[in-house]
Amino acid sequence: MMIVVFIVVIIGGLGSIEGTLLGAIIVGLTANYVGYLAPKLALASNMILMMAILMWRPSGLRPAVK
């Protein structure tokens, strides 16, 4: 679970609870949808998701104000 947890925290934005929830839901949904549509991609999907979101927002979707 460590990897999933890390990915969630990274894409959600470190330090914010709302961000973490958002990241968790996105990862959960993606894992299930991709698992159904393209089972082979299921595990790589999280990674692709993370890369895509980091390119778009380098510090995650909703980072805490710093």
Binding site: V4, V5, I17, T20, L22, I26, L29, Y33
Partner: protein, 263 residues
């Protein structure tokens, strides 16, 4: 483009991502019943992962400490809850009240462990290496290695079957849509925890301190608050949430191995 962005922002901005995701998936999947099942599963999984991840995020935000040993709390939570459920096996078939009691005991057991382990971790493992990121990563990684070995030593390497209370077994069938009850339970629990955290952070003085501490630790100290106590509290809370998430995950998977945390 700007206008579009503005409209998007008004309706929630990035919060809409899951909705967009669900909409795209709906088109791609085609079959509404499978889509509902998958969405519920995704939301439930999301909520459990949220439980596990929220502590990590909070601890990082407040203390600037990234605990690579966080997943040890998840694993321990899973195994402790599973062991308690297995030990109370007789209760699980003995009606809703007894089964609920067993479930509650299992979750409380995991949470209690998380609190205690968090206290230990914060004071013994992390306190000496505050503000030294390199050593922090190394130390918490070392702690993770040791924790995993302890789990292997205590529970052995073989998969462990997790009994579930009878009332959480099975699924609701609405038309041709089937929804596993455990998933609903996981979602509800996650939502309650999230709301609880939001109230704690936004409506209480402790929460105010945490939010202030995330921004500027020194200034919180200069206003006369001992941030170390806050750290310990938040760390314990985070560990307890991870253990709770692990416990829920154990019930979801129903078969757990010591490799659970590391994957």
């Amino acid at each position: 483009m700007d206008k579009f962005g503005e409209i998007l922002h008004r309706f929630g901005g990035v919060n809409l991502l899951p909705v967009a995701l669900a909409a795209i998936a709906f088109v791609l999947i085609g079959a509404p019943s499978s889509w509902v099942t998958l969405t519920v599963a995704g939301l439930a999984m999301g909520m459990m992962v949220f439980l596990m991840a929220s502590g990590l995020s909070l601890v990082f935000g407040l203390m600037d400490v990234l605990n690579f040993g966080h997943s040890a709390f998840i694993s321990f939570g899973a195994f402790i809850a599973a062991s308690i459920l297995a030990a109370l096996g007789g209760w699980l078939d003995g009606g809703v009240i007894l089964a609920s009691a067993a479930l509650a005991l299992a979750l409380v057991g995991a949470i209690t462990f998380g609190l205690a382990a968090g206290l230990f971790f914060e004071t013994v493992i992390i306190r000496p290496v505050y503000r030294d990121h390199l050593r922090q990563i190394l130390i918490t990684m070392g702690a993770l290695i040791v924790s995993e070995q302890v789990i292997l030593a205590v529970w052995g390497g073989t998969p462990f079957t997790v009994p579930r209370p009878a009332f959480l077994e099975g699924a609701w069938i609405i038309g041709d849509v089937s929804i596993e009850i455990y998933r609903l339970f996981a979602f509800a629990l996650g939502a309650v925890v999230f709301l609880g955290l939001m109230v704690l952070l936004n409506r209480t003085r402790i929460g105010l301190l945490i939010r202030a501490g995330v921004e500027n630790r020194e200034m919180v100290e200069a206003l006369g608050f001992k941030i170390n106590r806050l750290f310990i509290g938040v760390f314990m809370l985070g560990s307890a949430l991870a253990a709770l998430g692990g416990a829920m995950w154990a019930g979801y998977e129903t078969l757990i191995t010591p490799a659970l945390g590391a994957r």
